[in-house]
């Protein structure tokens, strides 16, 4: 039986292409890549749509938008920048004007010194830049995921602010004080100092860092006395006990405070009130003070922090001084004094010195987690 030939009418319409409208795949664009084959790879309707989107509305995302972030949330369906709509129209008008002006300028500029021309051009560009600058991003523009309205790209510390944090911590010697003064969380201040220390003796990947920072929203350095905070520094963690509902009738006349509320959860081990659980409780104490008093209080706190650090350091040094250090050729041998009694009566105490006897290693066993839990800094 001869093979059955399908009637052309039965073929689905979207698989037939005329050569002129055929989609060409970008990954095999040249015939040199596949000299043996003339056929273009299969391009489905979906792929065509995708490339149409990438050429149309998606084109804006290919390159970063100079001087701004460039997220999906900032564009409408047709790929126009929402906050730049009025601007575009204005710029178009200006461009036409500018064209006429530059035509005239070119005629005059024949024979004029190249440097003066350059100067004029720069001025013109600067003017255009000032007028054509995009308005700052709204919260809507900072959404990288259109469906998720609860997430937005948050600002990172600018290079100047990081430098300022490092300088202040070095000068003032207090992470807490700098954190409160600049509105940056304490962990972040400490991390910036740590990273800056590493940065000092390492080659920098500057082109990468610049390009990435240009794509991100940034918190600039604010030199005012009360700068705009980078983030909220007094975050109260939600206690697990408070996530369920709890009914506790209280008479209306009773003066029911935060401390009382903490007692409701557990009378013997009450929850601490918010002013004790926030990272910067000293700010609550300083709220009613005058400016000079605040400065004094902060100074005292800084001193206290420094003193604590000094004591810690002293303690460590004292502990280390007990150790006997023998200098070798390439390394030191540090002898630490221990006691054999620490193994306990039966010789099996976990606190005892040395590798324990009679305790099997289970690190090769099936089902044991072999990934380290922590890495000591």
């Amino acid at each position: 039986m001869p093979p059955r030939i399908r009637a052309p009418a039965l073929q689905p319409p979207n698989t037939t292409y005329t050569p002129s409208t055929r989609f060409q795949c970008p990954y095999h664009p040249s015939s040199q890549a596949r000299p043996f084959s003339n056929s273009t790879p299969h391009a489905s309707r979906l792929r065509r749509r995708m490339f149409a989107w990438l050429q149309g509305p998606g084109r804006a995302f290919k390159e970063p938008l100079p001087g701004s972030t460039n997220y999906l949330g900032a564009y409408d369906r047709s790929g126009a920048l929402i906050r730049g709509r009025g601007l575009e129209r204005r710029a178009q008008g200006q461009r036409e004007e500018g064209k006429h002006a530059s035509d005239g300028a070119e005629d005059e500029a024949v024979g004029v010194d190249a440097l003066t021309e350059e100067k004029e051009r720069l001025e013109r560009e600067a003017k255009e830049k000032r007028e054509g600058e995009l308005p700052p991003e709204t919260l809507e523009d900072l959404r990288p995921f259109p469906l998720n309205r609860e997430f937005r790209s948050q600002a990172v510390l600018s290079e100047e602010l990081r430098e300022a944090i490092w300088e202040r911590v070095v000068k003032r010697g207090s992470v807490r004080g700098v954190s409160a003064a600049l509105g940056v969380a304490m962990e972040r201040v400490a991390a910036v100092v740590r990273l800056k220390e590493v940065e000092r003796n390492k080659p920098l990947a500057l082109p990468y860092a610049r390009a990435v920072l240009a794509m991100l929203p940034q918190t600039p350095l604010d030199t005012r006395i009360k700068p705009r905070p980078h983030e909220s520094i007094n975050d109260l963690p939600v206690h697990q006990a408070t996530t369920t509902q709890l009914f506790h009738p209280v008479s209306e006349s009773r003066h029911f405070t935060r401390v009382d509320a903490g007692l409701v959860f557990d009378s013997r081990l009450p929850l601490l009130p918010a002013d004790a659980r926030i990272p910067h409780p000293e700010l609550v104490a300083q709220a009613g003070m005058t400016r000079t008093e605040v400065l004094e209080a902060q100074k005292a706190l800084d001193e206290k922090e420094k003193e604590e650090r000094r004591l810690r350091e002293e303690k460590r040094k004292k502990r280390e001084a007990k150790n006997k250090v023998v200098q070798g050729r390439r390394w030191d041998f540090v002898f630490q004094e221990v006691s054999v009694e620490s193994v306990g009566e039966d010789g099996r105490s976990a606190k005892g010195v040395g590798w324990r006897y009679g305790f099997p290693h289970e690190d090769r066993k099936r089902g044991q987690v072999k990934i380290p839990r922590r890495v000591e800094a």
Binding site: W53, L72, F151, E187, V238, R373, V375, A377
Partner: protein, 399 residues
């Protein structure tokens, strides 16, 4: 790890990558319909979608062990309010109708459900992707297993390492530049025409681009001919000649300051000679033959000679020279040089607040675990809260 279809268009799954397919999928993403599905079906679908994004490299059993029904959250407190009130103001006057007056204002809700996948953000590979050191979570994972990542200064080869608050992780900057930079063979695709669309649509665009490029190359060729011609001249030079030379160099500088991806390979090679030319121009000028070998002081000395050089022009030259110094053309690198970000990177460029990143040294510190706060969830997830809620309900194992 089972190999999965990375970027399907038929049944699209959104992944943790900067791929353009993925961007397209995010842009047309919709919350799945619920009216024609049972609750189980809704949860199943939501689980499938969310798991394709959040740690698709993690085995399902492993993720089930990682899942926590409790979700960390914080409430920002105002210290001035705390100092002013002791908490009794919330209850005061409740019985006499005061609470009725307050009904109008409602504080922003804390999006707990958007935090369903918060344990995955603690993983080392995810954190590397979030810090913009890799272009996908899979690539980040490969960096870890191939030994390019250090945690607290020690090599860490486990992508599933759960970062502790205060851990610093570093990725080899060369790897990061490769992962986030444009492809080396980009120009081959750019100049080959008919890029991503039908030929009819593309032709006029390409013609214009080619014309532009031609003009540019002509400009640079002219510019280059001036200094090379000068090289044959006698060593003594008048300020005018110097100025002429500088103008030519400036032309080159301008081309150089353009986005490096717009340049043709030929231009790039020409631009490599820019630095050499400028250096030669500086060294041939007798007055500036000082010992100072850093280019900035040399340039300052040179610009001081020519009064007509405006500040902007001097700045332009300096900037171009510095850029050439920091971001040189280097064919030995596996990525496009001068370095430029890869396409479609900017749409994905965000850094969550639980990381503090120093891009200069490709290092970051994991500050704390991600938290939810009123109106904001710190876990970056492309899904609607309903989808995440359904996924959360799935893993509560009450089905």
């Amino acid at each position: 790890m089972r190999r999965k279809v990375p970027h399907g268009l038929k049944r699209p799954k959104v992944r943790q990558t900067w791929n353009k397919y993925n961007l397209y999928n995010i842009s047309r993403m919709q919350t799945p319909t619920a009216y024609d599905k049972t609750f189980f079906q809704q949860k199943w679908k939501a689980k499938a979608l969310t798991r394709a994004y959040h740690g698709e490299q993690i085995k399902e059993k492993h993720w089930e062990r990682m899942f926590r029904r409790s979700i960390p959250a914080v409430v920002p407190m105002d210290h001035e309010y705390l100092a002013k009130h002791d908490g009794s103001e919330l209850a005061a006057g409740r019985g006499s109708g005061l609470d009725e007056a307050e009904k109008g204002r409602s504080p922003a809700k804390t999006p707990y459900m958007q935090m369903t996948f918060h344990p995955t953000e603690r993983r080392l590979d995810t954190a590397i992707f979030r810090a913009l050191f890799a272009s996908s979570a899979r690539q980040a994972r490969q960096f870890v297993t191939h030994g390019f990542v250090k945690v607290n200064g020690k090599k860490m080869r486990y992508p599933g390492y759960m970062l502790n608050p205060g851990d610093m992780f570093q990725v080899d900057p060369e790897r990061v530049m490769w992962a986030t930079g444009a492809r080396k063979d980009q120009d081959k695709y750019e100049t080959s025409g008919e890029y991503m669309t039908t030929p009819e649509e593309n032709e006029p665009v390409d013609e214009v681009a080619e014309e532009d490029e031609d003009a540019d190359t002509a400009a640079t060729a002219d510019a280059e001919s001036t200094p090379t011609a000068d090289a044959t001249e006698a060593t003594e030079r008048t300020p005018e000649e110097l100025r002429k030379n500088l103008t030519a160099l400036m032309e080159q500088a301008k081309t150089y300051l353009k986005d490096p991806k717009d340049l043709s390979p030929k231009q790039k090679i020409e631009l490599r000679s820019f630095r050499t030319n400028l250096k030669r121009a500086i060294s041939r000028n007798k007055a500036t033959e000082s010992e100072a070998d850093d280019y900035e002081s040399q340039l300052a000395a040179l610009t001081a000679q020519v009064e007509e050089l405006t500040k902007e022009q001097a700045k332009l030259l300096k900037e171009a020279l510095q850029r050439a110094h920091e971001n040189p053309y280097d064919p030995s690198k596996p990525y496009l040089t001068p370095w430029a970000p890869r396409p479609y990177m900017s749409a994905f460029a965000f850094i969550p607040r639980y990381l503090e990143v120093s891009h200069n040294i490709c290092s970051a510190v994991y500050l704390r675990h991600p938290v939810a706060r009123p109106g904001l969830a710190e876990v970056p997830t492309p899904f609607h809260k309903e989808t995440n809620q359904l996924a959360h309900a799935w893993y509560l194992r009450r089905r």
